[in-house]
């Protein structure tokens, strides 16, 4: 749901020593009042975020269905859903497609393109930089329903702009190359975040370091390797983890290909929707959701550890 922005500093908080010189309660709020201030937010989070996450664990162990007898009286079936998922080719197909999607559009596409743009524009000023950045950001901020349709129109077999540009007649990109289509789409869609992150990171590389490398006669590539890269290593890892997490959970492909044709672009996010809410196998869908949650957990814990170890 919420896509968290990268939190600036978890570490500052936890590093605070217990015996600080200044008071721990500047406004004289008191613990009870402070608790009351925090309570409504925590209540909403508990009901609509924590509880669903726990419930999905339970649902995954049942044969719950949207309709029929199992809807009225669901039974606990233990690990059956997980076992049948493991034996189900469509599940493995979706997993494999998700790996392609994350590696192709996030790791290679967004990180590569985002860094390339940030690097190309690193010491540029003026309108050219503003136009390029503006367009990249525009692709990122427009509503997903709108950009999805724009790509449907772009790739349309019958009069789509891409075919007109390439002179490929009535080639059906979305039918013949659905995965490639959504990978390129998502690269286009999400590059802005990486571009801005690397832009900020490159801005923090001390100019004196670059200058001394240049004085020593380092080539552009050597400067990149010896000066820039060591400085932005942390940013690259942060960036990789965040956008992998987001891409992994992205539902937008559904709006372009709806997982089709024949499940050829059915990434896990779409797979869950199809099995749980279209076919009504809620229990089985919940089991797949649990797998997604666990993968998210692993990435997020890794990310948070990285944030903590930074200082």
């Amino acid at each position: 749901m919420a896509q968290a922005t990268s939190p600036p500093d978890l570490t500052r908080e936890t590093a605070e020593p217990t015996a600080r010189r200044y008071s721990v309660d500047a406004a004289g709020l008191g613990r009870w009042r402070a608790g009351a201030f925090a309570a409504p937010a925590l209540l909403l989070i508990t009901v609509f975020l924590v509880f669903p996450a726990l419930w999905v664990l339970y649902l995954g162990l049942t044969d719950y269905r949207l309709t029929g007898t199992a809807a009225a009286d669901p039974k606990v079936v233990g690990l059956d859903n997980f076992l049948s998922a493991l034996g189900e080719p469509t599940f493995w197909n979706s997993t494999w497609l998700t790996v392609q999607f994350v590696l192709g559009s996030a790791v290679i596409g967004q990180v590569g393109l985002g860094f390339a743009i940030a690097w190309l524009l690193r010491d540029k000023r003026g309108p050219l930089k503003r136009i390029v950045e503006g367009l990249v950001i525009l692709a990122w901020i427009l509503p997903s329903a709108v950009v999805s349709f724009l790509w449907v129109a772009l790739l349309d077999a019958d009069g789509g702009t891409l075919n007109a540009l390439l002179g490929t007649g009535d080639y059906a990109w979305l039918l013949d190359h659905p995965m490639l289509s959504i990978i390129v789409f998502n690269t286009w869609r999400g590059t802005a975040f990486s571009m801005m992150l690397y832009g900020a990171a490159l801005g923090n590389v001390p100019p004196s370091h670059l200058e001394s490398a240049r004085l020593a006669g380092a080539s552009g590539w050597q400067q990149l390797r010896d000066v820039v890269f060591p400085h932005i290593k942390g940013h690259i890892l942060t960036n990789l983890l965040l956008i992998s997490l987001w891409t992994f959970n992205d539902f937008t492909p559904f709006m372009i290909t709806a997982g089709g044709p024949d499940g050829k672009s059915e990434v896990l996010a779409v797979h869950v929707y199809k099995v749980a809410l279209q076919s009504g196998q809620l229990g089985y869908g919940a089991a797949v959701s649990t797998v997604i949650l666990l993968i998210n957990l692993v990435v997020a814990v890794f990310y948070l550890r990285l944030l903590r170890s930074k200082k």
Binding site: M1, T14, A41, D158, W188, M196, A276
Partner: protein
């Protein structure tokens, strides 16, 4: 010298390719609304405004924009109010288990995504009778946005000196007076950032309303847009182009406003 020239040529070629890649998909949205009888192909517009008539004729187009507004503003208000209170308490008072709580919040907001939680959220909405309830959707969306909002705001409040509040306190102000007179005015930029971030998030959100609102009169623009191009028959391109444009403009305006006023801060900036 040759190296320099080649470098320049290479640079501008790359920039041109990049510009083409990022522009071409957007061209249609710029040209089709102003072209009479648009097709999928991008053509030079003849600058007609007739297509906007299609929006007025469509029964759900304008109401869906209103629904989007209602959902975004409702969620933003709730998120700002609740996250501000919680962030202030967490920033200023060392509640037992505070650090663990913050860590948990951050973890939750990253792992419990719409994708992972769509099944139980759908279930929950059915059980609580929140299907087709815009208020219910606002609550669910707020629950998802709150952890990150609290985290960002707390960070903002931590960087605000405590001496302002202590000073007011020595003058005899009560905690509520301190919040109203001193804290809220001081953190106003932070509150505005969270509000914009929440509005942008909800405005573009497709999955949750698609899942939880089946009544077409209550659906926001994201769902109506999707329905318009996937429902059977020939898609109405006059309607789709103008509607897509109208639905996109507020986001762009908001982005321009934010980047002008606050200079688009990277952290806490807008994200889908």
């Amino acid at each position: 010298m040759t190296r320099f020239v080649l470098g320049r040529i290479g640079f501008y070629t790359l920039i041109a390719v990049l510009l083409a890649f990022f522009t071409i998909p957007l061209l249609w949205l710029a040209s089709a609304p102003l072209t009479s009888d648009p097709t999928y192909e991008v053509r030079v517009p003849d600058f007609t405004f007739d297509n906007f008539q299609a929006i007025l004729e469509h029964p759900y187009a304008l109401p869906s924009l209103y629904n989007s507004l209602l959902l975004s503003v409702g969620t933003a208000l709730l998120v700002v109010a609740l996250s501000a209170l919680a962030a202030y308490a967490l920033s200023r008072v060392r509640l037992p288990g505070r650090d663990a709580l913050l860590y948990a919040l951050l973890l939750l907001s990253s792992i419990i995504t719409g994708t992972a939680a769509m099944v139980p959220l759908f279930q929950l909405a059915v059980e609580l009778g929140l299907i087709d309830s815009q208020l219910g959707l606002i609550l669910i969306l707020s629950g998802g946005l709150l952890p990150a909002a609290i985290f960002m705001l707390k960070d903002f409040m931590d960087s605000t000196p405590k001496s302002y509040e202590e000073s007011a306190r020595v003058f005899g102000a009560s905690p509520l007076q301190i919040v109203a007179h001193v804290v809220v005015p001081l953190v106003r930029p932070g509150l505005a950032t969270i509000a914009v971030w929440a509005v942008a998030n909800v405005w573009g959100n497709f999955l949750m309303p698609y899942l939880l609102l089946s009544d077409v009169e209550k659906q926001p623009a994201a769902v109506i847009m999707y329905t318009l191009y996937t429902e059977g028959g020939q898609a109405n391109l006059r309607l789709l182009s103008t509607f897509g444009l109208l639905y996109s403009v507020p986001v762009v305006l908001m982005y321009l406003f934010v980047s002008k006023k606050y200079g688009f801060r990277f952290h806490g900036g807008i994200k889908r």
